[in-house]
């Protein structure tokens, strides 16, 4: 490889400020800025839709007494370690 070409490449590597600038800018863009944009533009959860699905259905209210009573009855074996 001819000397001039070698010296020009070396000059690039000797460019402290160029290396510094790249070292700050490149990761800041790829990691920080990109990440902040993703977090900032995250959509909102549809809370009303979620709550809608969790409303007790009308038909369910008819059966309450019997179901609720059996659901509250103490279970025989609650500590069964089943691995």
């Amino acid at each position: 490889m001819d000397e001039q070409k070698a010296l020009s490449w070396q000059a690039l590597y000797d460019n402290m400020w160029g290396i510094f600038a790249l070292g700050i800018i490149v990761p800041t863009l790829i990691y920080t800025v990109w990440g902040l944009i993703e977090i900032a533009t995250l959509p909102q959860m549809d809370v009303s839709k979620a709550m809608e699905a969790l409303k007790p259905a009308v038909s369910q209210q008819a059966v309450p007494a019997a179901e609720a009573a059996s659901a509250m009855a103490p279970e025989a074996a609650t500590q069964a370690p089943a691995h």
Partner: protein
């Protein structure tokens, strides 16, 4: 001791250096390539669905969810049995507890939303959602203000421990619950 560099140090690599760099580069690119590929071919991946939600709203949802699907209680914690395929909700609380014991069915898929709520405490902390058992470990972050949606299909019946593995204050190491999977 001489520490000066030669005037011209830019020169081609030797044979061994070229071989090593080639092998290393192929290895590095290969392992990188596997990252997106694994999302396509593997059965377990990090979820890509999440939303912003206020701490109070998520708590409202958790309370409604617990009320609707509660089947019993264990040590004062509601055991909740939601229908397969539904959106289910679990939160770490400000008093270092899990909001419920989920009772799920093997082979069914659920959309598990995890987040952080005050739950009787003053603050909704960050928590580590950590399922630990003999055959299955999984860890996800619980961050207040964020709803993280995990598409979960339990495969084996049993009781799975649920602990917190993100330091969240003085009650951190007492935060233990479980998830029950029925066959």
């Amino acid at each position: 001791m001489s520490i000066t560099v030669e005037r011209i140090w830019w020169r081609p690599l030797d044979r061994e250096e070229k071989i090593w760099v080639t092998i290393a580069l192929i290895w590095c690119l290969g392992t990188f390539f596997m990252m997106p590929v694994w999302h396509v071919i593997a059965k377990q991946n990090t979820p890509n669905e999440s939303y912003k939600v206020s701490v109070d709203d998520f708590e409202k949802i958790v309370i409604a969810f617990n009320e609707k699907y509660k089947v019993r209680e264990e040590s004062g914690v509601p055991v909740v049995h939601p229908p397969a395929g539904s959106d289910i909700y679990l939160a770490g609380t400000g008093i270092w507890q899990w909001s419920s014991i989920l009772e799920l069915e093997a082979g069914k898929e659920y959309r598990l939303h995890i987040s952080s709520i005050k739950g009787g405490g003053d603050v909704a902390w960050q928590h580590g959602f950590s399922i630990v058992s003999a055959k299955f470990n999984a860890n996800f972050m619980i961050v207040p203000g964020y709803d993280y949606v995990l598409k979960v299909t339990p495969t084996e019946a049993g009781e799975y421990g649920l602990i917190c593995n993100e330091f969240c204050g003085i009650g951190h190491h007492l935060m233990a619950g479980k998830i029950i999977v029925k066959g």
